[in-house]
Point group: D4
C-alpha cells in the first residue's frame, strides 16, 4: 500500500494519496456536490489509510454517513467541517490568528480555523471586530502583533483587511464571505474590496472559501 | 425676463432658468459631451442672466471658449470646473469637510469642494488619509467632529467611508473614483464598498461625480 | 457600566455600546444572517442597557425570540423591523417624507420610515406615486415642498428620484428596491438609474436598504 | 436587373437588393467597421441601381469616398449619416416626433430623424427636455398628443420614456445613448431603465442605434 | 365619479383611473410582488368602475382572491393573466401575429396574446418555429406577410427576430424569455441577440415581459 | 408518412422529423421547461415514428410519463437522460473519450457519454482526473492518444482542457459545469478558462450542456 | 536537434518544438503582446528548425521584423497572419468551409482560413451571408452540404450558426467577432448566442479567435 | 526626524514614514495616476529620509523626474519599477521563485521580482512555462521544490497555479495578468481561474498587481 499514489473509489473518484508525500498536507473531500453515497464510499475506502483527511462543506447527512463508517471524527455543523481522525496533529510553526468582521462571517472563519488546526498549526479566533466601530479592533493590537499570519473573513464592505494589513508585518489571508445583499451581493463586493486593498500584503481566496484560507495560512505559518 | 422659466439656445438646449426659484440652486452645464461651439453659445446666452452658473467637466478648450464670452470666471483645470461669476456667494449653513483617500482622488475631491463653495457653503479639504495608514486619519479627529457634513472621495478599496461613518454623527457623502485597476476597475470596486458600508449614514453618488457630491453636501449643510 | 464601550456576547458578538456617545445614534442588530439563538442572546444582553436598539431584517422567528426576553418592543413584520423599547423618542429636527413608487416598494419604505422615527424624527409616507401617471406625484407638491428631506424607495425603472430631485430644494435619499424582473433584476436597474440621476442632490444607498436610507435621512434632518 | 436579388461586391459583400421588394425599405450600409475602400466599392456598385440607400456610421473619410463615386448625396457629419439620392421620398403615414433628453443625445436623435425621413415619414425634433426640469417637457404636450409615434434618445438615467410613455397613446421607441459615466456607463444605465419602464408601450433598440430607432418608427408610422 | 383621476386604495395604492382617457388603454395590476390581500382590495375597488382591467403575473391565489370579489373574469394560469370583465372588446386595427421559438416560451407568448386581445386587437399564435429547423418557419410565410405587427417570444439563442425581421415589412416586437441555462441564462442571451438584431425594425421589451410586448403591439396595430 | 417533415403536437410543438434526413441525427426533446403533460404528448406522438429520440433534462416525473406511453426506453436519472428505443445504434466512426475533472462533474459527463452513444459512437469515461494531482491524468496517456475526440467536463478552475489540449492531436470538446461557488460560480469561471485555453483545438459548449458536447463529439467522430 | 523538445530564446521564451511530434501541429507565436524585438529573436531562432510556424496577431511592424530574418513568408495584413515557410503543406482530410455573416467579420474569417490551410486542409470562404437576408445563405446550400466542417465568423446577433447548424450534418465551429456596439459589445452578444445555439453541433471558440477556430477545424477535418 | 510618523508633501500627500516601524516594509509611491510634478515633489521630500522607497507604475517621464532629484536609483522600464536607493538590502529569509506562463506576462513578473528583492529576499525567475506544453514546467521540478514561496504571473486561461499548487508544499501567490482578449479579457478570466483553483494554497492578488504579489511573497518568505 505504501507506494499507492492514487486510489480509485468506484468509477467516480481517484483519491490523491500521494498528496501527503508531494505537498505535505492531507487530501480533502469537497462534499457539497457529492451524494451521501459517494461520500460514504470514499470514507470507507479511507479506513485503512493512515492519514488525516478533511471533509469540507459536509452537511449533517454527509456527516452522519461518514460517522457510520469511521468512528473517530470531529464535526462542526456550523462550519460544515469534518476531520478524521478527531485528534489534530501537534501544532508546529508560528500561530494563526483568525478575525471575522461580523457574527455572520463565523461559519467561514471557523472553517478556516479548523483547517489550519488539522494541518498542524495553533489557531485563535476573534469575532465581530468590523471597522464601523474601530475601537473594537484596535483593542486587540497585541494579538495582531503576535500573529504569524492573520486570516480575515468579512462580508459586506470587506474593509477589514485594508485596515489590518496596514497595521501588521505578517501576511494577511483575506476570505470574502457571501454575507450582504443588494449590489455586490454574494460576496462580490468584499472580494473586490480585498483585491483592491490599499495596504499591500493581502492574499485573497475565493468567496466563502474558509478551507482555502486556512490551508494557505497553515502553509505560510509552517516555517 | 423675470418669468422666463426656460431659455432655448439654438435648437440644441433648453436652459432651466427656473431652477434657482424651484430648487434654490443654480443651473450647471455638463460640458463633457458638448462641442466647444455649444458651450460657447450657452455661455453667451447667460451673459444677461444674473445667476451663478457652473460648467462641469470643462476641458481647457471649453474653458477658453467660455472665457471669450464671459469675462469674470473661476477655472480649476485639475477639477475641470468653471464658475461664473468668479466670486462665490457668501457662505451660510454648516461647514463641509472634504476628505480624499489618495492623491489621485484629488480632481474629484476638488470638484466637490468647488461645487459646495459656489452653492454657498464654507468648505475645507484634507488629502491622502487612506485607511492603510490609519493614524493619518485619526490625527484629524477634531476636524471630523466639527464638520456639518463630510464628503469622501476614494478609489481602489473605497474603505474610508466605512471607517469615517463609524466615527462621526453627521451625514457622509461618498463619491467613488475611477482610480484603480484590475478587477473592479473604473470605480466599480469602491462604489460597491461604499454601497455596502457597514456603518450606516453614507449616501453614495456616481463614480467620479464630484459635482453631485458637492451639490448634495451643500443641500445637507444648508440648514 | 457607564464607560463600557464594547460588550462581548458569547464568542460571537462585540456590541458597540459606545456608538450612542460617538455618533449619537443607537446600535442596530442586522438579523438576516444570524441564528435565532444569537439574536436572543444579544437581546438578553441589552436588557439592562438603557438604549434604544433596532433589530433589522428580523423575521417572525427572530422577533418571537426577542420578545421572549424583552417585553416592550415594536414589531412590523412587513418591514421586518423591531425596536426596543417600543416608544420612539420625541421627534426633533426637520421632517422626513418617504415616497414609494409602487405598492411593492412598501416594505423598504416602511423600514426607512420606522428607522427615522426611532432615531428621533417626524416622518410621513406616500405610496404608489410612480412616474407613469405623473399627475399622482404632482398632486403632492405641497408635501414635497414642506419636507426637510425626502426618502424615495423605487424598483423597476427607478425614475422617481430624477423627477422629484428636480422639484425640491431639500436633499433626496434614494433607495432602490429589488422589485422587478428580467434585465437589471434584483434592483440593479433602479440602482443605476438613481446613480445616474440627471437631477443633482440625490444620495443613494444599497438595494433594499431601507434601514440605511432612514438612518441617513435622520442624520440629515437632525439640524 | 429586375430579378437580381443579391449583388456581389468584390469577395467581401452580398448586397441585399431584394430587401425593397421583400420589406419595402431600402438597404443600409453600416460603415463603422468597413474600410474606406470597401465602402467606395459598394457605393460604386449602387450607381446604376435605382434605390434609396443609406450609409450609417459614416465618418468624413467614408463620406468623401462615397461622394467621389455618387454625386447626389445628403450627409450630416454629426449623425454620421449619408443618404443617396439626396432627396427624401415624399412623406406618407403618420408623423414621427423625436425627443432627446439632453444636448449630448443629439447625434443619435438626428440619426433617427434622418432615417425615418428617408424611409418616407414626416419628422420633427425637440431637444433637451430631460425630466430634471419637467416643465420643459410638459410645455410640449400638444406636440406629444399629435405624434403618431415618439422616438426618445436619452442617456444617463434614461427616465424620459417612462414619463412620456405615461402621457401618450401612441407607441414609444426608446434608444439609450452612451452619454454618461461611472456605473452604468456606455449606455447600460439608460438601457436598463428603458427595459424596466413602468409605463407600458415602450420598444427599445440597442444603445446609440439611432438608425434602428428611426427604422422601427418609420415602420410603425407607415399605416 | 367621471372626473376622478386617481383612486386611493387603503394606504398602499393610487389607481390611475385617468389612464384610459390619457392613453386610451386600461390600467393593469402587476400582482407578482403584491400580497393576496392587496390584490383583493384593489379588485374590490374596481367593482363599480366600468373599465377593462388586467391583472398580470397573477398566481392561482391572486386569481382566486379576485374571483371572490369580481364574478366575470377570464383567467389563464399558464400565462398568469386575468382580465375583467371576461369579454374582450371588439377587435379593431390591424392584426397581431404572435410567434414563439419553442414550447417553453408559450407562457410569455400567451401573456402577449391575451394582452393584445383585451386591448382590442385580433390576435393569432404559432408555437415552436425556432430557427434550428427553419423550414417550419418558412412554411408560415403567408401568415407572416398578412400580419400588421409580429410579436416574437424566444429564449436560448433568441435568433428568431433576426430572421423574421428580414422577411416582413411590418414592425417586430421581440420579447426575450428566461428559457435557457448556463452563460446568458435568465434571458440575458436572447435579450442581447435581439438588441443586436442585424435586421432593423425590431423593438425589444424586457425579459419575460409578455404584457409589455402585447401592449406595444396593440398600440402599433391600433391605426 | 415518409415525406412528413414536421409533426404538430397539440398547439404547442412542431417536431422536426426532417432532422434525421437533413442532419443525420435524431430529434431531441429538451424537457426542463416543459410540463409533464407536454412531454407525454410528444412521446405519444413518436410511437409510430421509427426514429431514435432523446429526451434531455428529464426529471423522474418526465421519465415516468414517457415510460407510460413508450415501453422500450433507457433512462439514467443522474444524467437526466432518456433514449427511445433503449438499444443504441451500432457504433461507427472513431471513439469518443469522456473525461471529468471531479466526481461532481459526472452528471454532465454522463449526459455527453449517453448522447454520443445513442448517436452511434463508441464511448468510454474516466472520472476525477483534475490537474491538482496531475499524475492521475498522466497515467492515462495511452487512452488519450487512442481517442478520436476527447470530451472534458470540468467545473471550478476548468483547467483540464488546457492541459489535455496540449497533449493530444485530436479535437477537444470542453463543457464547463456549474460545479463551484463564489466568484465565477454557476460555471462562468470554467467557461472563461476554456474559452481562453492556451492550447488551441478546444471547442466549447454552454455550461452543463452535456448533450451538446456529446452531439458535437459524435459529429466529429463520424468520419 | 531531433530530440530537442524545448528551445529557450533569450530569458523570455521556451519554444515548444515537441508540439509537432506530440500534437501533429506546428507551434504558433502570438505576437500581440510581444515586442518587435522578442518576435524577431524568436523568428531568428526558427531559421534552422525545419517546421512550419505561424505568427498570429502580427501587426506590420512584427511582420517586417520577421521578414528581416526569415525570407520565405506569407503575410496577410488584414488577418494579421504570417506563416513560414510561405508554401502551405499539401491539403489532406476533408474540406473546410468558412462563412462570415458580414463584411466586417472578414479579418477573423481570413485568420481561420489561413490557419486551416497552413495546418494542411483545403479551405474556401463565403462572405456576407447573414440571416437578415436569408436567401443569400440558402443559395449556397450545395456548398454547405459538401463541407467536412463549417467555420462561422459572426458579430452583432451571432445568429448564423443556429441556422447553419440546423442545415448540415457536419460539425460547426463558431467564432464570435467583436463587431457591434452597445449592449453586448466586444463580441459578448454573439458569444452568448453561439453558446445558446438551439441547433446542437456547434463548438465555440473565444471572441475574434480566428486562429483557434481554424486550428480546431483543421483537427476535425484531419481524418 | 525619528518620531515623525507622517510627512505632508504640499497639500496633496501624507507620506506614511511610520510604515517601516509598524510593518517592517518601506512606503511605495503608486505613480500611475499622479502627475510628474507630484511624483517629483514626493521624491524631493524623501532625499533626507533614510529609507528604501519604491515607485511603482512609473513611466519614463515619472522616472526622469525622480532621477532629477534623487541620484542613486534602479529603474526597469519594462516593469515600470523604480527603487531608491539602487542597492537592494541584503537578502534574508527563504527564497522566492517567480514563474510566468507566457512571454507577455513578463512585465508583471518582473515587478514582483524587483519588489521582493528590494524588500530583502533572494529571487529567481523562469519565463514561458505555460501548461499547454507541460513538459516545460515539469523540467523545473527541482527549482519548484526548493522554493520558499512561488509567485505565478499568468494571463489567458490562468491555469498554471492550479498545476503548480498541486506539486509544491510551499504557498503560491498568483497574480493574473491582463494578457488575453475576448471573453474574460483584461485579466478577468485568469483571476477567476486562480480564485477557483482546485489546488488549495493559492493566494490571489489583483490583476497586473506585480507589486502586491512581490510584497506578499516577501512577507511570507521573511521567516
Amino acid at each position: 500500500m505504501t507506494d499507492e499514489r492514487t486510489r480509485k473509489v468506484g468509477d467516480f473518484a481517484h483519491l490523491d494519496l500521494d498528496r501527503v508525500r508531494r505537498r505535505g498536507y492531507p487530501e480533502a473531500i469537497y462534499c457539497e456536490s457529492k451524494t451521501v453515497e459517494q461520500v460514504a464510499a470514499i470514507a470507507a475506502s479511507l479506513r485503512e489509510v493512515n492519514q488525516t483527511t478533511l471533509f469540507t462543506r459536509a452537511n449533517p447527512e454527509h456527516a452522519a454517513a461518514v460517522m457510520e463508517v469511521l468512528d473517530d471524527v470531529f464535526y462542526d455543523p456550523v462550519a460544515r467541517f469534518l476531520a478524521y481522525p478527531a485528534a489534530a496533529p501537534e501544532a508546529t510553526g508560528v500561530s494563526v490568528l483568525v478575525l471575522c468582521a461580523g457574527t455572520s462571517d463565523l461559519p467561514v472563519a471557523r472553517e478556516a480555523m479548523h483547517t489550519a488546526r488539522y494541518l498542524g498549526r495553533s489557531v485563535s479566533l476573534i469575532a465581530d471586530v468590523g471597522v464601523a466601530g474601530i475601537h473594537r479592533l484596535l483593542s486587540y493590537e497585541a494579538e495582531l502583533q503576535a500573529a504569524g499570519v492573520v486570516v480575515i473573513a468579512a462580508g459586506m464592505d470587506g474593509a477589514l483587511p485594508s485596515v489590518v494589513g496596514g497595521l501588521v508585518s505578517c501576511p494577511v489571508v483575506a476570505v470574502p464571505t457571501s454575507v450582504g445583499y443588494g449590489a455586490g451581493a454574494g460576496g462580490i463586493a468584499p472580494l473586490l474590496t480585498m483585491l483592491n486593498s490599499c495596504a499591500p500584503g493581502v492574499g485573497v481566496v475565493n468567496i466563502d472559501n474558509g478551507y482555502g484560507a486556512g490551508h494557505l495560512a497553515a502553509q505560510i505559518a509552517a516555517r
